[in-house]
């Protein structure tokens, strides 16, 4: 008598229990909600401003018409004008390129250095891990903006330097997440199964660890983009970024500080653009997060 004989045919056939049509890759489109569509629209428009500002406004961002100074938003001047009669919409559009460049540079720096540090620490472990992680502990102990300010103090002012300063402050965050992802994947059962299958360390790293650790890092990058845009614009607001009259988002808002009581649009509208971009980036980041944690 064999074991198989005790399992009736109805059960032994593998297709009976739990067999349902295989769900294809295509699911109900999760991108069709109003919030997500609006976020995509905001990101696309702002990317357009950054790449081809001339397409979005004909006005000159640097030269104003003194007679039109401090005029409220109108069909002619969507965001109104500033104290020198310059069109604020044109200044915002033309400031996008510089502001976004700085943010992306900072993101790239933080992502590249942080991910490398995290990967090395998580994969090598031991003393290397301990030293690298204690270092990131210290970087995390110094509030990000203060660390950026210290770097700015040492390097001097300017958009590029602000970007580096913000990027340096981001390294620790990326390193932490990358390390924990590498550790998580390294201890999964499927990596143990790969080792048992005879795969070499390099193959395990390239085929299992990196692909599975990469997704959360990219999600983090989307979420951190918002944080970075805020940090860059804060430093720019404090006056450590571009030199006037070059427009930049943070400094645009700063220029309006002295006209709060007479020109509400001067600070409000450029600031609204920053908030819209950050909100959109966060929304898309959470969307990605939801999809990878599915």
């Amino acid at each position: 008598m064999t074991l198989v004989s005790q399992a009736p045919a109805a059960v032994a056939a593998p297709s009976v229990v739990l067999a349902r049509p295989v769900p294809g890759r295509r699911r109900r489109h999760p991108l069709a909600t109003p919030g997500v569509l609006a976020s995509f629209a905001v990101v696309l428009v702002i990317l357009g401003w950054a790449l081809v500002p001339g397409l979005f406004t004909a006005a000159d961002p640097l030269v104003g018409v003194p007679a039109d100074k401090l005029s409220a938003p109108s069909a002619e001047h969507w965001f109104g004008t500033d104290n020198l009669g310059r069109d604020l919409y044109a200044r915002t559009v033309h400031g996008t390129g510089l502001s976004l460049q700085a943010a992306l540079l900072a993101l790239g720096l933080g992502l590249a250095v942080g991910a490398l540090v995290g990967l090395v620490a998580g994969y090598l472990g031991g003393a290397v891990d301990a030293v690298l992680m204690r270092t990131t502990d210290v970087l995390l102990a110094i509030p990000g903006l203060l660390l950026s300010l210290a770097v700015v103090t040492a390097l001097g002012f300017g958009t590029l330097k602000v970007a580096i300063a913000v990027g340096v402050a981001e390294v620790a965050t990326f390193a932490r997440v990358m390390r924990s992802e590498v550790l998580r994947v390294r201890t999964t059962t499927y990596v143990e199964a790969a080792v048992l299958a005879g795969a070499r360390r390099s193959a395990v790293l390239a085929r299992h660890v990196l692909p599975n650790a990469a997704a959360p890092i990219l999600v983090l990058a989307t979420v951190q983009l918002g944080v970075i845009v805020l940090a860059v614009s804060s430093l720019s607001f404090l006056g450590f970024g571009a030199v006037p009259p070059t427009p930049e988002w943070g400094s645009l808002v700063a220029e309006g500080r002295n006209y709060l009581s007479v020109a509400w649009w001067f600070t409000t509208l450029p600031g609204l653009v920053i908030a819209a971009l950050v909100l959109a980036a966060n929304r898309l980041g959470r969307l990605l997060e939801g999809r990878t944690h599915r």
Partner: protein, 548 residues
């Protein structure tokens, strides 16, 4: 017969999915009378748990009763406003939840958690409630209840926690008690002691009991009547002896046949050991100690001087409860960890260096417990099975592709599955993929670490049948590790019983199960559910026999 305590009629429960509703329970009707234990039996997804939760009005988010009625004595429960529900729950319906490990608030004291049910319903003073809580803890058989009341859940064992939860559920002597898989998370010896206590207490209060379980054997032991559910509907119900002894519905018959504890009665003679002359695997006086994290200098002896050998073509079952060291032995055999002392021989040769380890890795493969974690979610099935071939540079690309298809067919999946990803497969299908991967390098030894414990019972039966066929077809040797004695009894021809890292008994399967020598083994065997119910041997089973 008097009026039923619980009367469920045409109950329909829907879950709000993304955009569309799914009916988890479709027109279920049954009664539970005072002093009666009714078991609601089914596999995962059958709707048994949903039915139970609908009865206490605690459906998980998105679930709601859309039709039918639930009456407790004469009161309708469906549509009861929240305030009224609060007076029913705890006082008139008690719930014993599923997993005692997480069903108690981790940051509140045991005594306070027991007293809470008294405070909610009885308007007793704080001090009086605390006093009563201690009495309740005493009544559920906890030693030193005063001290237990001041402890936190993590300081109690799983069995003790389940006793506390039973105490909470029965504190106000409710007329209906719902037990939702109350002991599935517990070790088998603890399980039977806790269920004995539960039986005693509910018999004393005369409560009606609705007992939810996936385990037919437990239902056979404990229930007066059995209700079998499948896909949200009742397929069969009746007296326990009648339903389990002479099932009328094919699904019940297939469930029964798949249940290892009950099916095992039929197997009388152990398989004639098709033993090769020399042992394939020798484990010689192996010991392993671990340091406890966070406790400087404290160690735990995971494996203590364990020796056994497995002949070529044999199937050695290693049984033990959680913490007995059985998984550590698997890791030692596979050289995933090195023993403190003792050796592991494969084919009489010790593993001494990296080359030996590589050879051993090729000749012995592991099938993990959890098929949901052991497959890389980003790989296709073909890539997963190909990985060992690729790593060991076996054959050309096209030869490997053919081999993958061949392996898929051997585990009864077929080439169509090659391009799918683990996320698209069921648990049983995933475990088949894991087995195919383990077979790719034509190993001699397969270490099976609880290969079916994450699966439903009917799927488990399929996987066990597959493993049995593979062993015969391919002259494989198995080291089969499990906490489930009934499963081991089906698979193994020799058994070793582990207790606290020591091997307390080794012998042929039938001897160990029928004439246990060690007291611990005797307790373990005695605790297997399905022994108390004196059911007639399945007569329907031979008709269902597969020719496969």
């Amino acid at each position: 017969m008097s009026a039923p305590v619980l009367q469920v009629r045409d109950l329909v429960v829907e879950y709000e999915g993304r955009g569309h509703a799914v009916q988890a329970v479709r027109g279920v009707s049954f009664d539970v009378h005072a002093g009666e234990v009714v078991a609601l039996v089914g596999e995962s997804g059958s709707g048994k748990s949903t039915t139970a939760h609908a009865v206490v009005g605690l459906l998980a988010g998105g679930g709601r009763v859309v039709g039918g009625s639930v009456r407790l004595h004469d009161g309708e429960l469906v549509g009861l406003p929240p305030k009224a529900w609060q007076q029913v729950r705890g006082a008139r319906i008690g719930l014993v939840p599923q997993d005692p490990g997480i069903a108690l608030n981790p940051v509140a004291r045991i005594g306070d958690q027991v007293a809470e049910v008294l405070r909610i319903h009885g308007r007793v003073r704080r001090a009086a409630a605390a006093q009563q809580a201690v009495e309740i803890l005493r009544s559920v058989g906890l030693s030193d209840p005063e001290a237990r009341a001041r402890q936190y859940p993590h300081e109690l064992s799983g069995g003790m926690r389940q006793r506390v939860l039973i105490g909470i559920a029965l504190a106000l002597e409710p007329s209906l008690v719902i037990a939702d898989e109350p002991t599935s998370a517990l070790d088998v010896t603890v399980q039977s002691r806790v269920l004995d206590l539960f039986d005693d207490l509910t018999a004393r209060t005369g409560s009606a009991v609705l007992f939810i379980t996936h385990d037919l054997a437990v239902a056979a032991d404990r229930a007066d009547r059995v209700v079998v559910m499948k896909d949200g509907e009742i397929v069969e119900e009746g007296l326990t002896a009648q339903v389990l002894g002479a099932p009328s519905h094919p699904y019940t018959r297939s469930l029964l046949a798949a249940a290892p504890q009950l099916a095992v009665r039929e197997r009388v003679a152990p398989r004639a050991p098709s033993v090769g002359a020399s042992p394939l695997l020798d484990v010689l006086s192996v010991s392993k100690t671990f340091r406890l994290p966070g406790h400087a200098g404290r160690t735990v002896q995971a494996v203590d001087d364990v020796s056994f050998s497995v002949p070529r073509g044999g199937a050695f079952g290693l049984v033990g409860e959680s913490g007995s060291g059985k998984s550590t032995i698997a890791r030692l055999v596979l050289q995933l960890t090195t023993p403190d002392s003792g050796t592991v021989l494969l084919d009489g040769a010790p593993v001494v260096d990296a080359a030996g380890r590589a050879l051993l890795r090729r000749r012995s493969q592991l099938v993990h417990q959890n098929p949901f974690a052991s497959l890389d979610p980003r790989f296709t099935v073909a890539k997963i099975i190909d990985e060992p071939l690729r790593s060991h540079r076996v054959g050309s690309r096209s030869q490997r592709r053919d081999r993958v298809v061949e392996l898929l067919e051997q585990v009864a999946l077929g080439a169509a599955y090659a391009s799918r990803r683990p996320g698209e497969l069921s648990g049983g299908q995933r475990q088949r993929v894991a087995i195919a991967r383990a077979l790719a390098l034509e190993p001699d030894l397969l270490v099976l670490d609880e290969p079916t414990s994450a699966l439903d019972v009917s799927v488990q039966a399929q996987i066990l049948a597959l493993l049995d066929r593979l062993r015969r077809d391919r002259a494989l040797t198995y080291l089969f590790i499990s906490h489930d004695l009934a499963v081991v009894r089906q698979v193994a021809d020799r058994v070793g019983v582990l207790h606290d890292g020591r091997l307390v008994e080794v012998g042929p399967t039938a001897d160990v199960f029928d004439h246990p020598q060690d007291p611990y083994t005797a307790e373990l065997v005695g605790a297997i559910p399905g022994r108390r119910a004196d059911l007639p041997v399945l007569t329907a089973a031979p008709l269902e026999r597969s020719t496969r």
